[in-house]
Symmetry: C2
Subunit: 712 residues, 2 copies
C-alpha cells in the first residue's frame, strides 16, 4: 500500500533534525551538519544519534532512533552506503517524516548500486518517507538555520536571501553557491538533490515556488527523469511570475557520457531540453556568470522589458559599441532613435558626444548631472526603446554622487534601467544593488542579462497558459483504434503506409487521394477514377524502405504504363519478402510541384512527444537544419517554429522561389502534433517524409508516412 506523502515541508522546514551517525569531529562529513546547525542557530530540536557518545557539543546523543522520544521530521543519514537501507527502514518504521542521504555509492557505481538506489525509491514510495539523495550534499534553509548539509560554502556564513537554489551536482552546486555569495547574491534554500531515488528536481522547485520569500529559482541540471513534472512547475512559475534560471549540462557527447557516470542519470537529448525550456519559459544560462547575472536581474526592482528595443547611454563610446554589438548578437534591437529624440538630445549631449543609439554622454556627465538625467529621460521616452542600458566605469572619486543620481533616475524611468559599471568601486555596486538597480561588471554581461529578462517576459504569458494533455492513452478515433489493433493482432511493430495515411487523415493531415488494390484490373479502375498521372506503390509488411526496394513507380501516365508498373512493383515486392507479406498495391494521385518538408515525432523519455520539422534533402541530411517543439503545438507556434529554420525563406517565396502554402503547413504540423499526443504510449515513432508543400492556396500532402508502434 502506498502511504500518503507528506508535503516537502517536513524536509525543508523540519521542527526536529536527527543526525544518524553523528560525529564530534566537526571537520568530518558526519560532524559538519551539527556544527552548522549550531552556528546557524537552528531553532528546532537537534538530535545526534551515535551509540559511541553520551553527548556531543552539549547536546544529548542518542544510541538509536528508537531512543528518541519526540517526533522526528528529518533524519540526516551519513553512514556507509551498505548501511543506508537499514537506516531508512528504521526511519520509516519509527515514523520519521523525511531523510537526506549523504552517502554515495549508488547509481553512479554500476548495476549493484543502481539496484540499491531503486530499493530506496520503493521504500520511500511505499512508506511515505520523503528521501533526498542518496549522494546528496544536503539541504539548507537559511532562514530557519536548518543546515542539514556539509556544503563547504556554509563555512562562509551565508545570510538568507530571495533565491531558491536546487542542484543536481552537490559539489559544483556548492561552488556556485560560493560564487553567488561573492557577487552579493543570497540563497534561502540550498538543495542538493543527489541521485534522486525519490524526490526529484521538479518536486523541490514546486515546493520552493510557493515560498513567498523566494522570488527566483536557480539551478544546475544534468537530466530530468520526469519532464511532465517540470512542465507543471514551469507553468506554475510563469503564473507566479517567478523565473526559473538553469544551467543544463550534457550538450556534448563527452558531457553526456560524463553526466551519466556522475549521477547515473540519462541526460536525454539536449536539443529537446532547449526546445522545452524555451516553450516552458525557463531561462537557460550558458555560463556560470550568466546563471548568477540573470538571477540578479530578476531580483532587481527593474520592470521586465516589454520588447526587444534597447537604448544605450554611455560614458564611453567604446563601451557603447560593444553593447550594441552584443545586443544584436543576442536578439535585441538597437533602434535608431526618432528624429525628435535625436533633435532634443542635440540640445543636451556635448558636441563631441553622440546622439544616435548608443548615446555617448562622455565623462562630462560627472560635472553636469543634468546631462545624464536628461539624456536618459529622452531615450526612455523614445517609443522604440523597451530597456535602457547605461555604461560607465571606475569613478573612484565620484561614485557616491553618480549612484545617488542613478537611484533617482531608476524611479522615474518607464523602461527598466540596467547599469554596466566596469571596475566599479565595491561601495558603488552595493549602493545600486540595495537600490534595486540591476548592475553588472561589463557591457556584455549587462546586455546578456537584459536579453534574458526580455525573452522571459515575452514567453511568460504563453508559458503560463500552456496546457499539456495528461500523458497516457487517449481516446482514439475508431478507425485508428482498429488499424492499430489489426497491426498488433498480426504481431506487427508498424503500420503500413496505407494504414499510416488513414491515421494521418483521421487527425486532419491531408494525404493524396488513393486506394489499396489487388489486381491489375482494380488498379486500372482506381487510376481511371483518380485521373492520370498516378503513383503505384507496393504495400508489404516489413518493406519500410520502398525507394531502395524500387517498389514505387511515379508519374504513371496511362493504362499501358500502369499495367507494367503494377507488374513490376509486385514482382520486386515479392523479391523482398514472402508473398503473404504483400498487402496490396497502393494507387494514388501523383502530387507535383511540392516543396519537400520532413516532419516526424519521437517520444522523449522525459518530455513525451516531440515534433521535428525540417526542409527535405540536403537541408535535413547535410545541414541538419531542423527545429523541435513539444506536442501538441498550436498553429501560431508552428509558424514560429518554421521561422527557426535557416532555409525558411524557401517557403516564403524569397529570391525567385515559389511562395508556399504556409497556412496549410501550419495546420498540418499542428494536426501531426495532436496525433502524436493522442498516440503517446502507443506509437514509438512517426515519420511524415516527405510532406509536400504546394504553392500558396493549394495545400499540403503527406505523400509517405510511417508509424512504428511501441512494443508492449
Amino acid at each position: 500500500m502506498t502511504a500518503q506523502r507528506e508535503s516537502l515541508r517536513a524536509i525543508l522546514e523540519p521542527q526536529s533534525v536527527a543526525i544518524v551517525g553523528a560525529s564530534d569531529d566537526f571537520s568530518k562529513i558526519n560532524g559538519r551538519p551539527l556544527k552548522y546547525l549550531l552556528e546557524f542557530k537552528y531553532g528546532g530540536r537537534i538530535l545526534p544519534i551515535n551509540p559511541k557518545y553520551g553527548e556531543i557539543a552539549g547536546l544529548r546523543c542518542y544510541p538509536n532512533l528508537e531512543a528518541i522520544d519526540c517526533d522526528i521530521d528529518l533524519a540526516i543519514v551519513a553512514v556507509p552506503a551498505k548501511a543506508v537501507s537499514d537506516v531508512l527502514e528504521s526511519c520509516a518504521k519509527r515514523g520519521v517524516k523525511s531523510a537526506v542521504v549523504f552517502s554515495s555509492g549508488f547509481a553512479e557505481m554500476g548495476e549493484e548500486g543502481k539496484a540499491a538506489q531503486e530499493r530506496i525509491g520503493v521504500l520511500a514510495r511505499e512508506s511515505g518517507l520523503l528521501v533526498c539523495g542518496p549522494n546528496s550534499l544536503g539541504i539548507a534553509n537559511l532562514t530557519s538555520g536548518m543546515t542539514a548539509s556539509f556544503s563547504q560554502t556554509l563555512e562562509r556564513k551565508p545570510a538568507s536571501g530571495p533565491i531558491g537554489f536546487i542542484t543536481q551536482s552537490g559539489a559544483f552546486g556548492t561552488f556556485l553557491f560560493g560564487m553567488a555569495l561573492e557577487s552579493g547574491l543570497t540563497f534561502k534554500y540550498f538543495i542538493s538533490s543527489g541521485n534522486e531515488a525519490d524526490l526529484e528536481f521538479a518536486d523541490y522547485v514546486d515546493y520552493v515556488l510557493d515560498d513567498p520569500e523566494v522570488r527566483v529559482i536557480a539551478g544546475y541540471v544534468e537530466g530530468l527523469k520526469n519532464g511532465g513534472k517540470l512542465k507543471e512547475v514551469a507553468r506554475k512559475a510563469a503564473s507566479l511570475g517567478k523565473p526559473i534560471v538553469l544551467i543544463k549540462v550534457g550538450r556534448s557527447s563527452a558531457g553526456t557520457r560524463a553526466a551519466r557516470s556522475h549521477t547515473g542519470s540519462m541526460t536525454g537529448t539536449d536539443a529537446v531540453y532547449s526546445a522545452a525550456f524555451e516553450e516552458l519559459g525557463i531561462v537557460r544560462a550558458d555560463t556560470e556568470e550568466q546563471l548568477l547575472d540573470y538571477a540578479s536581474a530578476f531580483l532587481s526592482s527593474a520592470r521586465l522589458p516589454q520588447g526587444r528595443g534597447v537604448g544605450i547611454v554611455t560614458q564611453s563610446g567604446g563601451a557603447g559599441v560593444l553593447a550594441a554589438d552584443r545586443a544584436e548578437m543576442v536578439g535585441l534591437v538597437v533602434p535608431e532613435l526618432q528624429d525628435e529624440t535625436k533633435k532634443q538630445l542635440l540640445g543636451v549631449v556635448p558636441r563631441f558626444g553622440a546622439t544616435g543609439n548608443p548615446v555617448d554622454v562622455t565623462a562630462q556627465f560627472i560635472a553636469e548631472p543634468a546631462l545624464l538625467r536628461d539624456s536618459i529621460a529622452l531615450v526612455d521616452r523614445d517609443p522604440q526603446v523597451n530597456g535602457i542600458v547605461f555604461c560607465l566605469g571606475l569613478m573612484d572619486l565620484h561614485w557616491s554622487r553618480v549612484a545617488a543620481e542613478l537611484t533617482e533616475l531608476s524611479k522615474t524611468v518607464t523602461n527598466p534601467l540596467y547599469v554596466s559599471w566596469t571596475a566599479a568601486p565595491s561601495e558603488a555596486l552595493e549602493a545600486l544593488r540595495s537600490a534595486g538597480i540591476p548592475v553588472f561588471p561589463t557591457p556584455t554581461r549587462t546586455i546578456d542579462a537584459l536579453a534574458a529578462a526580455t525573452s522571459f517576459n515575452m514567453r511568460r504569458e504563453a508559458a503560463s497558459q500552456r496546457v499539456f494533455p495528461a500523458a497516457g492513452p487517449a481516446v482514439l478515433p475508431e478507425v485508428v483504434r482498429q488499424l492499430i489493433h489489426g497491426a498488433r493482432a498480426q504481431g506487427r511493430d508498424h503500420l503500413l503506409e496505407w494504414e499510416a495515411k488513414q491515421v494521418l487523415a483521421a487527425f486532419g493531415v491531408p494525404v493524396p487521394r488513393g486506394q489499396l488494390v489487388g489486381s491489375s484490373a482494380e488498379a486500372l479502375q482506381t487510376a481511371e477514377a483518380l485521373g492520370y498521372p498516378v503513383v503505384v506503390k507496393a504495400q508489404a509488411i516489413g518493406l519500410l524502405h520502398k525507394s531502395d526496394a524500387r517498389v514505387i513507380e511515379l508519374n504513371v501516365a496511362n493504362a499501358q504504363q500502369l499495367r507494367l508498373a503494377h507488374a513490376r512493383v509486385l514482382a520486386r515486392a515479392r523479391e523482398h519478402g514472402s508473398p503473404e507479406a504483400i498487402r496490396g498495391i497502393l494507387v494514388e494521385e501523383m502530387v507535383n510541384g511540392g516543396l519537400e518538408v520532413i516532419t516526424g515525432v519521437s517520444y522523449d523519455p522525459s518530455f513525451g512527444p516531440v515534433l521535428l520539422v525540417g526542409l527535405g534533402g540536403i537541408f535535413t541530411e547535410i545541414l541538419r537544419d531542423v527545429a523541435l517543439h513539444l506536442c501538441p503545438l498550436e498553429v501560431s507556434e508552428a509558424a514560429q517554429l518554421l521561422q527557426k529554420l535557416r532555409g525558411y525563406q524557401l517557403l516564403t517565396g524569397a529570391r525567385g522561389t515559389t511562395k508556399r502554402d504556409l497556412a496549410s503547413l501550419y495546420e498540418a504540423l499542428a494536426a501531426v502534433s495532436r496525433m502524436a499526443a493522442a498516440l503517446e504510449g502507443v506509437a514509438a515513432e512517426i515519420d511524415v517524409n516527405p510532406l509536400l508543400v504546394l504553392p500558396e492556396g493549394q495545400g499540403v500532402k503527406a505523400v509517405d508516412a510511417l508509424i512504428t508502434l511501441r512494443s508492449r
Copy 2:
C-alpha cells in the same frame, strides 16, 4: 619634403615631457598628468607650460615652448581643439619629437573636425613630429613612470607588468585597465591611440613587440585604416611568439554606426576582420573577461597545447560535465582515454568517482594528495591529451596544501595544466598565479582560455611564415595588360566575359574552350571545331546581366539550332543597347554535370583583396554560407577554407551525392587569389559565378566571369 620619422621611442620612452596648458588643479584633465608623473616618480624632466604660473608643485612652469632650454621628447597637448593646430606647429618648429593630444573635437565631430584632423596628419608627416591622438586619453609607460595620461585607473596606482595594452577607445580602455588590475593583471604600456591622425594602432604594436619586458599585446579595436601594417606586425608577433589578443567591435549594424560616430573611423566588414585575425594568428576575444583571461593564459608559464585534446580532472562531477560541454562547443576534443589509462586510473580513483574523461577524483583528493598527483600524471601520459584542466572550488581550509600540490604538479606534467578554481580564497589564486599556473574562476572560462591558447599555437607557425606581396601594381602578363588597356581606352569600367576569361586563363583558372565570333558562319565553324552541344552568348559592353537579358542559349545541339540561337541572341543584345556595344558572340563548349561554386574577390580598404567562396544557389543566396580568406591563399589554405562551409559535404560525395574534383577546386581558388593580388589597384571586383566543379578527376570550369575595374 617628408622628414625622417623618429622611432616611437621618443613618445613611449621620453627623457623629457612638456605639458602644454598645465594646470595646478590636479583634478582637471590638464592637471592630472603632472600629478601622475610625480606620483609614479617619472625620472625624466617634467616641463609644465602655462604663462599663468611661475611654478606648479615645486616645478618651474614655462610661459611657452620656446622658453624651455632642453630637448623635448614629448609634449602633452591639453588645449581646446581650436588651439591644437598652433601648438603642434610650435612643437614642430621647436624640434619637439612627439606629442600626445588629449583634445577632442575632430573626426568624431563632422566634416570640419575631420579636416582639422587631416591637417594634423599632414603636419606630422611633413615635420617628423610623432603624434598620438587627437581625442586620446594619453599614454603611460609604467616601468619608467611616464604617465602622459589622464586615465582614471592611474588613481589606483597600478604596478608595471608584462602586458602592452593599446586601445582605440580611451574611456573603455581605461575601464578594461581597471578590470585587469582587479584580476591581478598588470600593464607596462597603456596607450590610447585616439583618432589616429598620425600614429596608428599597428605602429604601437610594432614598437611594443620589441620591448623584452612585454610578453603579450592586448587591445581594443574599432577599425584599422591600414591592414597592411597589421599583417606585418602580426607576422612579427607570431615569429616572436608574443600573442596579440584583441576585442574587435563593430560586428553589428548598430555597432558599426556607433563606432563611426565615436572615432570617425570606418570599421570595415567584420567578416573580413574575422578571417584576417584567424590567418594572422591574432586571438579574438568576444567578451571583456575573455580578453583578460586569454592574456593571463599566455602570461602563465604553461606550455602552449600541441593539439585539441583536453583531459579533464575534477573534484566535482558537475564541473567536469560543464567543462566537457564547453570544450566541444569551442572546438576542443574530449577524447575517451585509452584502455590502459582507464585501467590504471581504476587503481587510483575512488569507486564513487569516475575514470572516463572527465576523471572525477571527488573531494577525496584533499585527504589523499597522491590521488590528485597520480590521476593527473596518468591523464598527462595519455597520448590523446594535449592539455589538462583541473576543476575545484572553495577549499577555505585546505587551499594552501592544494596550491602547493598543484605547483609541484605543474612542474612535472608534459602538457599544460590549467586550473578552474571556483569561489577560490584569494590567497589561493595569488599562490597559483605567482607559480605561473593559469587559473580561472569557472570551468567555462578555463576551457575558453585553453581553447584560445590551442588555436593560437596551431596557427602560429603558419602566421609567422605568411608572406603577403607588397600592395600596388604587380607586373601583369602581357595579355592581361593589353585587355585592361583596351578596356580603359574605350572608357569601360569592366572587362567583357570573354576578356575576363582570358585573364582567368592567364592566371591558370580553367575556362571552357571557346571563341568569340561575328557571323553565323563563323559560329558554325567554331561549333564544329568544339563539338556539340555548345553555348552561345552575346558579348556587349554594359550587358552584365546576360541571363536576365536572355542573351545566353545553353545546350545548342546542332547546326540548325546554332543558326537560330545566333540570330536570337544577337537580336536580343540589340534590344539592350546600341549595335556598336556588341563585341561579338561567344561560342563555347557546353559544360554539364558540374556543381555550382561561387567565388569572387573584393578589395577591402584595410586588408586588400579578400576571396569569397560559397556553394551556388540557395547556399549563398538564402543560407549566406560563404567563407572568406585574404589573398593570396595556398592550396592547403583553400582546402581548410572550403571545410568551413556548412554545405562542404556536397563536395565530398556525402549521402549519395557525387564526389567532386576538390584538388582542382583548390588549385582554381589559389589561382583566383593570385590573380586578385596581382590586380590590386587595377580591379575593383572579380566574380567567378559559377565555377563548375566536375566529378573527381574531371576538373573545374569557370563558366561565367566578370572583372570590374577601379576608376582612376
